[in-house]
């Protein structure tokens, strides 16, 4: 009897010790849980892919970081529910990666003062809500340089999803860059009405090519359909959003602009972990949040040098929107001596001289 009790006690003691020790050897609590929502699929060779690559870089840089992701989150109240779900799972930092997610993320920032939010492409700010995006406009200038040199028909085509100020600014910088090396270059613009309507994008590209464009570029979520359509019609293309799109156009690819969100996202995550998060309106351009894609085989060396020189100027602070700048009706929009800085990039509702299209 005593032996049985002894052994029972031994086993109970061992079990207690085991369970006492268990929490120590259990899974390490992650330093941070980050939630991210995408408006589309990450396999779009475009905007969402660039966001995903940046988040992966951040997760890689911070060992143990847990990343919750949701793709195809519409720009409606549904996004608020999805972000709320991530917060319930412990997320302390949320990246709302699409323009239309702004209000919903902002609502959550009010009800969750201990969770930090970073929105891409908007303007709202609060103590736990920051805003970031690439300074795309001036980065489009070297793209215009490339297009201006490569075009034979002097007609460039630009497909725009939604003509918000930032997108119009992109078109303007593109045309100005083209004009700087080719005074005869004009840019034709077609608006599809949405950031991602593949059938319309294909038709829009065909329309631009029918009007004589031999270089096509775009500001939509995914450049894939437009680049593929351009390639099938045998014209050049310049990509946007993600530099991985080059593989879609082996013959016609000139170059492109891509976003490199990784370092910024890593910095934000580290600041949240350290408790030093400061909300900021961040717009970074070439060399920081933006990069130029590798050149295609069709681009001759002198053009490459020209483009990289132009990019270098932009990185050093060259601002194409320095007066005098005239719009395509002849009115002077930026007088001599003035220039439009990063804070005014959302104010464009006019196209520069040389752009064929109506802004609003």
């Amino acid at each position: 009897m005593a032996r049985k009790l002894f052994f029972l006690g031994l086993i109970l003691g061992a079990l207690t010790a085991f369970f006492a020790a268990a929490p120590l050897s259990a899974q390490q609590k992650p330093p941070l849980v980050v939630g991210a929502i995408f408006v589309g699929s990450v396999n779009d060779y475009g905007y969402n892919r660039s966001m995903k690559d940046g988040l992966d870089e951040m997760a890689h840089a911070i060992p143990g970081l847990k990343l919750l992701e949701a793709e195809n989150v519409p720009e409606t109240a549904e996004s608020e529910r999805i972000m709320e779900g991530m917060i319930q799972q412990g997320a302390k930092l949320i990246f709302a990666t699409s323009f239309g997610h702004q209000q919903f993320a902002f609502n959550l920032a009010k009800t969750h003062p201990d969770v930090y939010f970073e929105h891409a492409g908007g303007w709202m700010m609060s103590h736990n809500f920051g805003n970031f995006f690439g300074a795309t406009q001036s980065a489009w200038y070297p793209m215009g340089v490339a297009a201006g040199k490569m075009t034979k028909s002097n007609t460039l085509g630009f497909v725009v999803g939604v003509p918000i100020g930032y997108a119009i600014g992109n078109v303007n910088a593109f045309e100005m860059g083209a004009r700087s090396v080719n005074p005869k270059a004009v840019t034709r613009v077609v608006v599809t009405g949405g950031w991602s309507d593949k059938a319309k994008e294909a038709a829009a590209t065909n329309a631009l090519i029918d009007q004589g464009a031999d270089v096509v570029t775009m500001h939509v979520d995914s450049p894939a359909t437009i680049i593929q359509t351009a390639e099938s019609r045998g014209v050049y293309s310049i990509g946007f959003q993600s530099i991985t799109a080059a593989q879609l156009a082996p013959k016609g690819w000139i170059t492109g602009l891509g976003f490199t969100w990784g370092p910024f996202m890593t910095g934000i995550a580290k600041s949240v972990i350290a408790g030093t998060f400061k909300p900021a309106f961040v717009r970074e351009g070439l060399g920081q949040m933006m990069a130029i894609a590798p050149f295609g085989a069709a681009v001759p060396p002198d053009v490459r040098t020209l483009v990289m020189a132009s990019a270098d100027q932009v990185e050093k602070g060259f601002n194409p929107f320095t007066g005098p700048v005239t719009d395509n009706t002849g009115a002077v929009r930026i007088p001599a001596g003035q220039s439009w800085g990063g804070d005014k990039m959302g104010n464009f509702d006019w196209y520069v001289d040389g752009v064929i299209g109506k802004a609003k």
Binding site: V190, K198, A199, A207, L208, Q211, A224, T225, Q228, K358
Partner: protein, 302 residues
Amino acid sequence: MNSALLIGVVASSVMSGTSLLYATIGEIVGERAGIVNLGLEGIMLIGAATGFAATALTGDAYLGVAAAALAGTAVNLIFAYLVIGRHANQLATGLTLMFFGLGLSALIGRPFLGTLIAGLPKLRLLGLGIMGNPLLSFDVLVYLAVPAAVLVWWLLFRTTWGLGLRAVGENPVAAVAAGLSPSRLQYQALGLAGLLGGIAGAHLSLAVTMTWAEGMTAGRGFIAIALVIFAKWNPLWAIAGALLFGGAESLQLQLQAAGADVSPFIMNMVPYLLTLAVLIAWGWRRQGAAPAALGRNFVGVE
């Protein structure tokens, strides 16, 4: 308008209108049998996703079209069972089918997002193509679209089967009295409608865009439902309707590219405004054009 612009508009209208035509004639078949299918958008999406998936897996776009047709038929038959076998409300079930199609197509297409396919080849053999112009040569679905519409017209208006089907859509009680089985005819009609709807979706993903994206039909299924009314439930008029809408959409994009001095927001509205205007203008004389028993569930005779 110079000839390059004209050719561009024609080519673009045809590409844009083909999937609309297949969807519209499919919906006409179903509605002639008395069943309105608001889930056409879902059927088209399932066709687009399945067609794309099959093409990505096998490398053969024609197999993709066949797979899309089969998938469309299968899913529409589920709708048919709910509406015919279980007497569910057609409108509500149709809308449910739309959401179901949205989700199912997303599921089917997910592993293939970003996959690159060659798509349906453009046929330039045998002098096909409009006036032999290389820019005006298209894939096989485009060439078969008008023949398909004529075939459906012939089926509905020149065969006994079509007569029975139309009878079911007008007066099911009379059809029963004539010895027909309304439910069997309605199943067959919806099967055919699903097949055509699946092909409509496949054209979008295999010929127009050569890609798959969730929700890529962007409301075309509902445009097709409106075009059925525009076409007075006659497949031959559907040809005109599909060309009209497809033409309006490509025309507004071409006009933008040409530099029209109109706001791009208004330009994007043009196809819808046009459809609305035509429906209003033609609507006055359309009472009585719809199949009399459209939308009503036939439960049987005493």
